[in-house]
């Protein structure tokens, strides 16, 4: 079942058109990868799913993005609800300069959720989900900035989970990590897709091929091709996709 539907989406930064007539439908509880050369609009597309582009002045958007059958660009959209449902992991691990504990409960604190089993239980569950509990259970109150980059990125994923999101957007989540850490984050994503829909932007084609079920290839703001990953990397329909994945440009 499709959880995200994109209909004829155009996005302009002032005079520059960053997305051109994108149509797309993303399946629930799968990993969908968006690939393409730098500046092709893949991060911009990802950021339309939780309306992070709204932060930039002079952005104009036409078309529709429908998540769970709700048009999220409707003027009455509740942005707070949307962003609880659609969490985001950024390119550089960006924990707050607070303790590990406070990082994880930040979301539920600002939404005034009082968990029945207490904050400690939430922290434990979320750290277990990202496989950090055993490493960190004894230093929950130390600064999150003291962790390794990989641990920080896992923590950033864990920080989303108390809000019970349905969709996790990941914007090149491994580009600041070494290959071993990258592999472990990829394994984590494989585990998370049982419960969450994951959309990942990556400049690393091998990563897309390894972890995703479906892949979209973007070029100059257009979604050139979108299909299941296996077919995409073996028998792409479009000449440009073929040129890109065989390394002729990009």
């Amino acid at each position: 079942m499709a959880i995200i539907e994109v209909n004829d989406l155009n996005l302009y930064y002032g005079n520059f058109q960053a997305l051109r007539g994108v149509n797309l439908s993303i399946e629930e509880k799968k990993i969908t990868a968006l690939i393409g050369p730098s500046g092709c609009g893949k991060s911009t597309l990802l950021r339309t799913f939780n309306r992070m582009n709204d932060l930039i002045e002079e952005v104009v958007i036409t078309g529709k993005v429908i998540i769970d059958e709700v048009d999220i660009y409707h003027p009455k959209t509740n942005l707070i609800k949307l962003r609880k449902k659609v969490g985001m992991v950024f390119q550089r691990p960006n924990p707050f300069p607070f303790s590990i504990f406070e990082n994880i409960v930040f979301g539920i604190r600002i939404h005034h959720v009082h968990p029945e089993d207490g904050f400690e239980h939430v922290v434990e569950t979320c750290l277990k989900e990202v496989l950090l509990w055993d490493e960190l259970k004894d230093k929950l109150h130390t600064s999150a900035l003291k962790l390794s980059l990989e641990q920080q990125q896992r923590l950033c994923i864990a920080r989303l989970l108390p809000l019970k999101p349905e969709i996790l957007l990941m914007d090149e989540p491994c580009s600041a990590l070494d290959p071993v850490s990258t592999q472990r984050i990829e394994e984590l994503m494989q585990g998370l897709k049982r419960d969450y829909t994951i959309v990942i932007v990556t400049h690393n084609m091998q990563q897309a091929a390894r972890i995703s079920e479906e892949t979209g290839f973007m070029l100059l703001g257009e979604l050139i091709e979108f299909r299941d990953t296996a077919t995409m990397f073996t028998r792409p329909k479009d000449k440009r996709t073929q040129d890109y994945i065989t390394g002729r440009f990009g």
Binding site: N50, M52, L55, E57, L79, I80, K81, L82, R83, K84, G87, M88, F90, R92, N94, F96, P97, F106, G107, R109, I110, H111, S143, L145, C156, R159, L160, L163
Partner: protein, 284 residues
Amino acid sequence: MKSIDPRISQKIAFSLLFLATLFVLVPVGLIVLVIIKNGLGAITWEFLTTAPRNGMREGGILPAIVGTSCLVVGAMSVAIPLGVLSAIYLNEYARKNFLTRVIKLAIINLAGIPSVVYGLFGMGLFVIFLKFGASILAGALTLAIMNLPVIITATREALAGVPQSFREVSLSLGASKWQTIRHVVLPNAIPGILTGIILEISRAAGETAPILFTVAAFYLPGLPTSVFDQVMALPMHLYAISTQIPNIGLDVRYATALVLLGLVFGVNSIATIIRAKLRRKKAW
């Protein structure tokens, strides 16, 4: 052209920079030393806790200490909230356009206005037009207005120094803009804001011109009972005993200067310790 050996140019550069620092430090150190050396002997319990007597030649300076303390507390309790809130508005909410740039420039220029102009403005607005008379209220408000530009500018700089990514993450977790400011941006900006506040406490305590027309009394041995009372103030008192009263001991003048210095130093130390504590927590 023959170029200089980089090892020599390095030595020259180092010497120049070191000398420049020395030239800055030596006068400051001398001033403090001279004041301590000449004034420390005259500081007694009586000097700190009684009113002046015998045409201010004898007795203490308690009314001036109390007066200056009232003015600093009054000025800060107006300038800090107003300055910090408006800086938050300008940095976080106002659109980045021509108008906000003009406002920013105007605020920076306000910081450069001579303090006597603030004094005249305060007299015109608070003492005469709003009929507060020469009073703690008028003096503190005048000092507050003088303090605002620096507090606003320092706060803006501190807010701008908080990485944009913190704001992004917070918003992406569904926090509102105000929650983001309150829980993420402000806690990380407080050390920078305190720097501005520290600077302005010293100015509020030390400036003479703004209080000259708005609050300071030449001789008023009693302590104030309401915000509409006039008070003595340390800088004004120092000016008075140094220039207006013959046959007064040199040590009394130096002691008064030392008390003023000590007061400013004490308040600043507290703020500096708080700032150091907060800074240790952040490390991005």
